[in-house]
Symmetry: C2
Subunit: 205 residues, 2 copies
DNA sequence: ACCTGAACACCGTTCAAGT
DNA sequence: ACCTGAACACCGTTCAAGT
């Protein structure tokens, strides 16, 4: 009945969020290897068993971290879209750039998001929804373009191909496996734009 | 001086290879999670410290496994190329198909190969060379086509874009993150072919 | 309702010691 | 030259117990 409990607060304050924040910090600082449950708990100032009040197991913590990542990525992609000129190639470039630079700036987080701690996906509805929002931004950009008559053909097929290309570029760059392209913006932007141009050529009606 | 020691054999027989074989079996059977050094040693019938005679640490064992993977992948891609009609689209499809179906048939192995236990790459010359052979097959297919006048533009840029797309498709399929495309051959082949056609359209001189 | 401490079954790695 | 056993410093997870 009292209003001082509007957000769920525990002894600690809000341990669930404190744990997530600690985990995100560890991910930035030490990469995926640094992300163990005991270290996260230590960082949040609680015993190593406290997290089990808030997450069923380590997997559940990772899923929550991944969900946060997809929400942030969707934000970046939405921002990129609104501040881009209303030209198809530029819109796709903005989306691709947001996608890939998110990955390059948060490597461990991106790896975690796109690591199928797999079937978790089907069960974790919130995680699934967050991920879906990201790739639907790309789908709707293509959908608009098709409505305008700028591109023809099978929308879903186009979208899958383009997304594959953006995702592959991101992963190869993150893992340092794209030969002769360092993570510097110039080479990355060139790769994104070239890829989009190649594919748009095939999508013209 | 004697000839009975042409291949290095130990008490065990050839523990190094026995360990690699055990690791590959575990990878198939249990995925990356099953690949711990003690389990590998147990499977090979030696104590859990014996592997350290042959691999500096777990990382080194993983790198050797990755190298085997790239060698096998290069084989599959080479075979695909030789048994494909001498038409550019078909040659690229054969390469993409070999690449992606390797990944789908050996998910844990592929994940490991393309997980940058990263800077290891720069140091491990054999691993680096094995990986390079794979993506040079794609580069030379495009190079031939350009020599024939079938495609124009910047060869390296084309190659990076196409490889990104093939890689992204493989990863998304492996991780079950390509919505509405199951791992069944039909949907996968359609995706590969569509992607190649889109890009080839942009490469025409 | 939320958290702790001891405990269990594991890891990777090191190091003296065995043959 | 090749392998073993005990040991160390860790994990994730469970469970009785505390407030």
């Amino acid at each position: 009945m009292e209003s001082h409990e509007k957000t769920s607060r525990y002894h600690h304050g809000d341990l669930r969020n404190a744990l997530l924040a600690a985990a995100l910090t560890l991910l930035e600082e030490e990469g995926a290897a640094g992300l163990d449950l005991r270290k996260v708990a230590r960082r949040a100032g609680v015993s190593h068993t406290a997290p089990y009040r808030h997450f069923a197991d380590k997997h559940a913590l990772l899923a929550a971290i991944a969900e946060i990542g997809f929400n942030r990525l969707a934000e970046r992609m939405t921002e990129a879209l609104t501040s881009s000129p209303p030209v198809l190639e530029e819109r796709l470039f903005a989306l691709g750039h947001a996608y890939i630079s998110f990955g390059l700036h948060h490597r461990a987080h991106a790896r975690l998001m796109f690591s199928s701690f797999g079937m978790a996906r089907a069960e974790d509805i919130a995680l699934h929804a967050a991920a879906k929002r990201c790739f639907e931004l790309l789908a709707s950009a293509l959908g608009d373009a098709q409505a305008n008559g700028e591109i023809g053909g099978a929308l879903q097929a186009h979208w899958r191909s383009l997304w594959s290309a953006m995702h592959g570029a991101m992963i190869l760059l993150i893992e340092d496996q794209m030969p002769y392209v360092t993570a510097e913006a110039d080479g990355v932007d060139t790769l994104i734009r070239h890829t989009i141009r190649l594919m748009l050529a095939g999508m013209r009606p």
